[in-house]
């Protein structure tokens, strides 16, 4: 059991002394999580609205596809993206393989179905008649969309938490597409993998503790905001 305590002590040491390598990995992880979540929200919210509220041929198939996408094996997504990014492959000219933008692309693809499917479910569960009434009062499509997202904001926050969580936890796709390069494409989760492979259990545990701390702080903060919204929506004191 000693190596566990060693790992905890090492984590405290690394954090207390502001270890440069650790700070770089934390920075990469945060940058990837925030940017991929923002991109997934930018694409996934309109997609979720369309899948949840639209009336077009193929909507149900799209919804089924988004729901299935939530369970996509990240390694497979990573493999497909990596294959597409190889030199000579269709996206090879973008030179994204083993770059931060490459792992950003892979992680956005993983987070997109989460945001789209959870947003679609959230707007579909809005009270009957709410959006129809807005249309009957002359609301434009954009105004109806804003109303739907605003009213479904507890669900939209859940989608955001899921997208962030998936970015923090992702290893397979990032290693395949980014190559797990220290200083550029290595994240906390993929760094843990390297340290364990190298037998550096103490450092791996330290990285794991930092990763867990980040997840707890970000997801916890968003959850508090979500529950505050929920209470406010129900008209109860928070």
């Amino acid at each position: 059991m000693n190596f566990i305590w060693d790992g905890v002590r090492q984590a405290v040491d690394l954090l207390a002394h502001g270890d440069h390598d650790i700070l770089v990995v934390v920075g990469t992880t945060l940058r990837l999580a925030v940017l991929s979540t923002l991109l997934a929200l930018a694409l996934g919210l309109p997609l979720g609205l369309a899948l949840g509220l639209g009336r077009f041929r193929g909507r149900r198939a799209g919804l089924a596809f988004a729901n299935a996408g939530m369970g996509l094996p990240p390694v497979v997504v990573g493999l497909v993206v990596a294959l597409l990014l190889f030199r000579g492959a269709p996206l090879g000219r973008l030179n994204l393989l083993y770059t931060f933008n490459g792992i950003l692309l892979a992680q956005t693809l993983l987070a997109l179905p989460l945001v789209a499917a959870l947003t679609a479910a959230a707007v579909q569960s809005l009270p009957g008649g709410l959006l129809e009434q807005a249309r009957a009062f002359g609301a434009s499509r954009a105004q109806v969309s804003v109303l739907a997202l605003r009213e479904a904001r507890v669900g939209v926050l859940a989608a955001t938490i899921a997208a962030l969580g998936s970015a923090f936890a992702e290893v397979g796709a990032i290693v395949l597409v980014g190559g797990n390069l220290e200083g550029s494409t290595q994240t906390l989760a993929s760094a843990v993998l390297v340290r364990v492979s190298a037998g550096e259990y103490g450092r791996a545990i330290a990285l794991g503790i930092i990763l867990l701390g980040l997840i707890l702080v970000l997801a916890g903060g968003l959850t508090l905001a979500q529950q505050h919204e929920r209470r406010a929506l129900l008209g109860r004191p928070s």
Binding site: P127, G128, A136, F137, G138, E151, A232, L233
Partner: protein, 306 residues
């Protein structure tokens, strides 16, 4: 004097739902200054017609012209989860009212329907009756040329409904606006209507002032719907009667047998069988015994040729 301008005009309008035509060949005009009540049984096509008049549903045939802006207050109160005043202001924003005017108009509309005190209350904390008031205020605030309300009193307990009905009866009167209200209940129609439309099986089966439609229905079907529950076969005609057209009278010319008694608020409802039909009367409690023979006098009713 010329008739006021028609804000909404339907000609031979037909609307289908799930491939079934539920509104069939409706002609109607809604004019400024009048409150028209649309009444009919469940499934008659009232809500569908209202949504078509508002432009929310496409026609399968005919045409609907709108001269001015028409707003529909749909049946479900469906308030957004924010305070009552913010809900009214949101409706004004969708309607295109400049931000600077919204607060004042929202408060005025809430005041008009007796809901000024609810302005800052979150929608989630409103009772059913309060939510209906705020919902109605959203429609009033728009100051539309045509306002179409779908069962604004649905789902309320009797005292709350009566209170809202009387407030709405005055709030809905506006010379600049054409108003259509879908209701279920004749009492609501009496309180609100300048003109009543009775809708049966997708068609407008009666159109006129409430006194005329309810006292002299134009067809047996309309009569049956507006409360002419008694039916007597007469030579060459059928006579339909309301309970108030039938009196239990020991010197009455007709003989009837009591079939059933049902207690009601002001006595008993007496169901009678006669040689050529059946009647319903009301009598002070306890009323005659079931199976007893009584004498009946008829004081009204409408006759239709057979």
């Amino acid at each position: 004097m010329t008739a006021p301008e028609a804000v909404v005009r339907a000609r031979d309008a037909g609307v289908a739902r799930a491939g079934v035509e539920v509104v069939r060949g409706v002609d109607l005009d809604l004019r400024r200054g009048e409150v028209v009540v649309l009444i009919g049984p469940n499934g008659a096509g009232k809500s569908t017609l209202l949504q078509a008049l508002a432009g929310l549903l496409a026609l399968t045939r005919g045409a609907i012209e709108r001269h001015g802006r028409v707003a529909a207050v749909l049946q479900a109160p469906a308030l957004a989860r924010r305070p009552a005043r913010a809900n009214v202001e949101a409706a004004l924003a969708w309607w295109g009212v400049p931000r600077a005017q919204r607060r004042e108009r929202a408060l005025a509309a809430l005041g008009a329907i007796g809901a000024r005190g609810l302005a800052d209350r979150p929608a989630g904390a409103l009772s059913g009756g309060e939510a209906r008031r705020v919902h109605l205020a959203r429609g009033l605030a728009l100051e539309a040329d045509g306002l179409l309300l779908d069962e604004p009193f649905a789902g309320l307990d009797a005292p709350t409904r009566a209170e809202l009905l009387y407030d709405a009866a005055s709030a809905l009167r506006d010379e600049r606006r054409a108003t259509l209200v879908v209701v279920h209940d004749r009492a609501e129609a009496w309180a609100l209507a300048d003109r009543v439309l009775v809708m049966l099986e997708g068609r407008v089966a009666a159109d006129g002032p409430p006194a005329a439609v309810f006292a002299h229905p134009p067809s047996p079907e309309v009569a049956a719907f507006v409360g002419f529950t008694g039916r007597l076969e007469e030579p060459g005609a059928v006579r339909l009667l309301r309970p108030q057209d039938v009196a239990l009278d020991d010197d009455g010319p007709l003989r009837a047998r009591v079939v059933r008694l049902v207690p009601v608020e002001d006595g008993v409802r007496v169901e009678l069988r006669l040689e050529h039909g059946r009647l319903v009367a009301t009598a002070p409690a306890p009323g005659p015994s079931p199976g007893a023979e009584v004498r009946v006098r008829l004081t009204g009713g409408v006759s239709f040729p057979r």
